[in-house]
């Protein structure tokens, strides 16, 4: 019910706004260029005064549009949530408008999203990486990034020369490690999925890492 009323109201702001499949709160897709007006309308006219989360989505290397930005809002008056999604136009260097002007809380969330997915936010006051170091060349939560990572130089050249250490891709040893569901705790210990390869027995060629 709330969803229908909200949808009608938001279509007044941006006519292409549509309902997005959702298992919980009302969710809407909206075009990227009307994302900020829609968020502003939700904040000012519908009481969604709190930004709970700002995040992004990689829909897969093959898909287009590949990247989606998501904003989760909460109304502290009615305790109801809403989710707004907008697809980015560019699949390689996605751009999105920043919501920092509406909620200062968006700043670090968008930095994280930039760091891990590589979505660039326009008009963001301080768009730097927040978790990985500044010189890191990859965006680790993209679907084409392997969990083990890539080999890289340490960010500190002096320490790198002194120790000869590099950023290595982590040994997976038959991983990823998953916990099986079982009644017995000792069987629930995380184990590698494929224990046939490890440091002593190399991984068979041509087998993809699941």
């Amino acid at each position: 019910m709330i969803a229908q009323e909200l949808l009608a109201a938001l279509q007044g702001v941006a006519p292409q706004t549509s309902e997005r499949p959702s298992a919980d709160c009302p969710a809407f897709n909206c075009p990227l260029d009307s994302l900020i007006p829609v968020l502003r309308a939700l904040r000012d006219n519908h009481g969604y005064d709190m930004l709970v989360d700002a995040t992004g989505l990689d829909n897969g290397v093959e898909s287009s549009p590949r990247f989606t930005v998501l904003y989760h809002l909460l109304s502290t008056a009615t305790h109801s949530y809403a989710r707004i999604a907008a697809d980015c136009a560019d699949d390689e260097t996605p751009l999105a408008p920043s919501a920092v002007e509406l909620w200062p809380a968006a700043e670090w969330h968008e930095r994280e999203c930039f760091d891990l997915l590589g979505i660039k936010y326009e008009n963001h006051p301080d768009l730097r990486r927040i978790l990985m170091w500044d010189e890191y060349p990859h965006h680790p939560l993209r679907k084409d990034f392997p969990l083990a990572g890539h080999e890289e130089d340490l960010w500190d050249q002096e320490i790198s020369d002194e120790t000869g250490t590099k950023v290595i891709s982590a040994p997976m040893m038959g991983g990823p490690f998953v916990a099986k569901s079982s009644k017995f705790e000792n069987e629930r210990e995380p184990r590698a999925k494929d224990e046939s390869w490890n440091e002593k027995n190399p991984k068979p060629e041509g087998q993809s890492r699941k």
Binding site: L131, M132, W133, H138, P140, F145, P146, L147, A148, G149, H150, E152, L154, W155, D156, I159, S160, E162, T163, T165, V167, I168, S169, A170, P171, M172, M173, G175, P176, F177, P190
Partner: protein, 169 residues
């Protein structure tokens, strides 16, 4: 000939007040009983490190209660937690700032081997960037395990050839 100098040679008055020992033994005895830690608390293991320092486990019993946040005044770096690649050069830099002689304890699975973080962001063991003397297993290790590691380190320090190392450095 009778000498007036009584300081040289046998003096029965100080008998019992003098202990003869090796310089190594004296230096090592002093060192083992006041290993001041540099608490390199990087993740959850640091909570157990704090417990080891608090009254219930009381690391002061082993002379290591003076947690120095200044590397210049510490002897042993306790790396307690996950060493990320972002942090690793900083850990090394702090280690470099510690005055010799210095030791390092890798506390917990993460510091010893990367632990459960087989991932792009985590250094697979702090021994890739600093020399480690004692590894402690566990995730996290109980404070007793850290105390055990400290005792092991004291044993190690106690067997060092400290005097000749002094001249070497």
């Amino acid at each position: 000939m009778v000498s007036s100098n009584t300081d040289i040679g046998y003096n029965s008055k100080v008998e019992g007040g003098v202990i003869v020992s090796k310089a190594d033994a004296v230096i090592n005895w002093i060192r083992t009983n006041s290993l001041w830690p540099m608490p390199m608390g990087l993740a959850c293991c640091a909570i157990e490190l704090m417990a080891a320092g608090a009254s219930k486990f009381d690391i002061a019993r082993f002379g290591a209660e003076v947690m120095r946040f200044s590397p210049r005044q510490s002897d042993v770096m306790i790396v307690a937690g996950t060493v990320t690649y972002k942090m690793a050069p900083v850990v090394r830099r702090i280690y470099d700032q510690m005055a010799a002689p210095k030791w390092a304890i890798a506390m917990g699975a993460c510091a010893s081997s990367g632990g459960m973080y087989r991932s792009y962001a985590t250094m697979q063991g702090v021994d890739r960037i600093i020399p480690v003397d004692v590894y402690v297993s566990g995730c996290p290790p109980r404070p007793e395990a850290l105390l055990d590691a400290l005792i092991k380190l004291q044993d190690k320090v106690g067997t060092e050839a400290s005097t000749s190392n002094l001249l070497k450095a």
